[in-house]
């Protein structure tokens, strides 16, 4: 039973990560009609925003401590971060400790800006081009972004821990009235899950309840008509691109304590996020969320030893099997619209 609950938790957690990435992707597709293969790269940039914030907070000056020696036998240079010098050691260390949550504040304007630049500078010119061209140019962009990050940060994964408050586990079992300690779940993963839920709900609420969102939704359904009403839909769509980029970036930041970021992270998530979006149905926001959770949970269960004992390696291919089955039984994914992306 506890194993079962743990896998459900895992599935929800994984699912929320998938859903959050897929949400931005399908948002861009739904509003702008662009297939953005660089979406994984936006996630990557987000993750590296966290790394950058951590690095900036760690910028140090060096003092020479003659009592200690380094590995070559020379006097040791001791590095002290400036924040610790300026704000006192305790405060400085606390700020460094909280670098991941702090990065959230940084990432929103940064990603909005990058999204805006990307849309105005590149994507805009591809609205009238075939989807294949959009896929290809953004694929090229994804390679370039990954390589630039590698040039700055190297290829090794970089450890970006969560604040120490969130290290450790929460006894979920006790909440459910089970034996204490039977279902312990990492605190940060629960934070991530809650965070995803808030963001997803926020995006839906924004589209559902604001005038701006209503216009965008109308534009998603029929761009020309909305244009005829004298509304500058293009500006709003650019904003949506920025929003999608910000969502991807926040997902990236929050994910860093779970997965140490490295330059190829974007590509690792690219295939997966596309499978999620397509299974959900291109351009369908609820579809993406549904598919994200579905695939997350299925993957978690497929990883259970009991399941793997029956079919070895099922955990490696379950996502693809599900994708094939869904696409064959529901031609446009779970909640896709007709005629979208079928030419």
């Amino acid at each position: 039973m506890d194993a079962f609950i743990l896998q459900i938790l895992n599935g929800l957690d994984k699912g929320s990560a998938y859903a959050l990435i897929a949400l931005g992707l399908t948002l861009i597709f739904g509003t702008l009609g662009v297939v953005n293969f660089a979406h994984g790269a936006l996630f990557l940039i987000g993750a590296f925003c966290a790394v950058t914030v951590q690095k900036i907070l760690g910028i140090s000056f060096e003092t020479i401590d003659p009592t200690q020696t380094d590995f070559l036998g020379n006097p040791l240079k001791v590095a002290t971060p400036y924040v610790e010098k300026w704000l006192g050691t305790d405060m400085g260390m606390a700020i460094q400790d909280w670098s991941v949550p702090l990065a959230i504040i940084v990432v929103i304007p940064v990603m909005f800006f990058l999204g805006w630049v990307m849309e105005r500078g590149l994507i805009k010119h591809f609205y009238s081009r075939p989807h294949a061209d959009q896929i290809l140019v953004t694929f090229g962009l994804a390679i370039v972004i990954g390589e630039i990050i590698k040039a700055f940060y190297g290829a090794n994964p970089i450890q970006t821990p969560a604040p120490s408050t969130f290290i450790g586990t929460v006894d979920v079992g006790a909440w459910l009235g089970m034996d204490p300690g039977s279902v312990a779940y990492p605190t940060w993963r629960l934070v991530y899950f809650a965070f995803s839920a808030v963001i997803i709900a926020g995006v839906f609420a924004f589209l559902q309840f604001t005038t701006f969102g209503m216009v965008v939704r109308a534009g998603m359904a029929d761009r020309e008509t909305v244009g005829l009403l004298g509304i500058d839909i293009d500006k709003r769509f650019t904003f949506m691109f920025g929003l999608a980029a910000a969502v991807a970036g926040m997902a990236g930041v929050m994910y860093t304590p779970i997965l140490s970021p490295h330059y190829n992270l974007g590509m690792d998530f690219l295939v997966l996020s596309f499978v999620v979006v397509v299974v959900g149905g291109m351009g369908s926001l609820p579809g993406a969320v549904l598919a994200g959770f579905m695939l997350g949970i299925l993957q978690s269960f497929a990883s259970m030893n009991e399941v793997k004992a029956l079919i070895p390696g099922i955990d490696q291919i379950i996502i693809y099997i599900v994708a094939i089955v869904i696409l064959l039984t529901r031609p446009r994914g779970l909640m896709g619209r007709k005629g979208v992306m079928e030419e």
Binding site: I143, A151, G313, Y320
Partner: protein, 402 residues
């Protein structure tokens, strides 16, 4: 001639010349010169890759170029082709003939099954289906899941499949060659012609593959110009009209898919014939992506584009990735120190380990400015010259894309 019109015939002759004279064309600089050490590409292993990947992309182009169906899992067929070929080496002998025949057949069978399923959907749904199948096959091969199920080594996992001395090799006689051969003609034996500062290498394996490239290219021209090629282009242009013209598009699509899968199988078989080892990574999705990149870079739907695209990527991968800073310093040795260092600093990110960056930028530039690939770029330049020469702008109707 050969059933081709003049223009196609010229193109065919061009490819023949390129393929047969590659050892000369790819070694433009004296071997020991700095330029030669950096930029010469006329050594057998790379030339083989040029032609083998050329075959692969020519095949891919029959599917994507003609019908517009973007397969993101084509590398899987290359992989199964290679596995089939290596198994033939393991079981029969190092003769490449059964290996290549089986690799084409096995890739054909896989593509019939996958094509039949994937072609039930179109657009991005088709792309994702092919991707899903290919990734599944990759996982199965990488961890040898199929082998584990059946209790023996099928793909040998990540290490890759290779021939061991204790393999059955039932057709192997006491004097049979111990490397891949064509009825005794060993693939890796070669003849070197040293002349002046140059040395040109002519290798059996390369010419064996080059003949396949020529045949594959010829076949692709014939398919492009055949009624089936016409039907495929029509499917790309307007599926609705196709069905209201009484044409069942499925068999045509499946045929294109299978032909292109078999081309990939042939390429896989040839890769194994040149180098009898194969691994699962040949099937990874990025390998499929690379095929797409090659096709786009060269020019989708054109005849010669795929060969060009494959050549450029393989050149970047093998030549640019080997340029390192000390080579750069040698080039700029005549310049003042500071300029040398500045230049090296500027170029540094794009060479050696940064060749992916160069590739990404080049690829973006092509997609943005030359949607028709480098072939279109060539045509544009050619047009410029023609205009200047004849000043005859009123050319009338352009011949349809070839």
């Amino acid at each position: 001639m050969l059933g081709l019109n003049t223009r196609d015939f010229k193109l065919f002759i061009l490819v023949c010349v390129l393929a047969l004279a590659a050892p000369f064309l790819l070694n433009p600089f004296p071997t020991a010169s700095a330029l030669g050490e950096s930029f010469n590409a006329g050594y057998p292993a790379l030339m083989q890759r040029f032609v083998i990947f050329g075959i692969l992309v020519i095949g891919f182009n029959i599917l994507f170029g003609l019908t517009g169906f973007l397969s993101f899992g084509h590398a899987a067929f290359l992989g199964v082709g290679s596995f089939a070929a290596v198994w033939m080496f393991k079981l029969l002998s190092y003769n490449v003939v059964p290996a290549i025949i089986l690799s084409v057949i096995v890739a054909g069978i896989f593509s019939v099954v996958i094509g039949y399923v994937a072609l039930r959907r179109s657009g991005i749904y088709f792309s994702i289906l092919t991707l899903a199948f290919a990734q599944m096959m990759y996982s199965i091969a990488f961890s040898d899941l199929a082998g584990k199920m059946m209790g023996f080594t099928l793909t040998n996992g990540e290490t890759g499949l290779q021939v061991y001395n204790d393999d059955p090799q039932i057709l192997m006689g006491p004097d049979s060659p111990t490397t891949p051969h064509f009825f005794g003609l060993e693939m890796n034996s070669q003849f070197t012609w040293d002349i002046g500062g140059w040395s040109f290498v002519f290798q059996n394996g390369y010419y064996f593959s080059a003949l396949f490239l020529i045949a594959a290219f010829y076949l692709s021209i014939r398919i492009f110009r055949s009624p089936m090629g016409l039907m495929l282009r029509a499917i790309k242009s307007n599926q609705t009209r196709m069905s209201y013209t009484g044409i069942n598009t499925k068999p045509y699509m499946l045929a294109a898919f299978v032909i292109s899968g078999m081309y990939a199988g042939l390429a896989g078989g040839l890769l194994a014939a040149m180098d009898p080892l194969t691994g699962a990574e040949r099937m990874f999705w990025t390998a499929s992506g690379e095929i797409v990149v090659m096709a786009i870079l060269g020019g989708v739907g054109t005849l010669i584009g795929p060969v060009l695209g494959a050549g450029i990527i393989k050149y970047l991968e093998n030549i640019v990735s080997k340029i390192n800073d000390s080579i750069l310093h040698q080039w700029f040795a005549i310049m003042p120190d500071w300029l040398d260092n500045v230049l090296v600093t500027i170029i540094h990110p794009f060479i050696g380990k940064g060749w992916h960056l160069t590739l990404g930028l080049l690829f973006m530039a092509v997609v943005i400015f030359l949607p028709g690939g480098l072939v279109q770029g060539g045509e544009k330049i050619g047009e410029l010259f023609r205009r200047k020469k004849t000043d005859d702008a009123a050319d009338g109707a352009k011949t349809p894309a070839e």
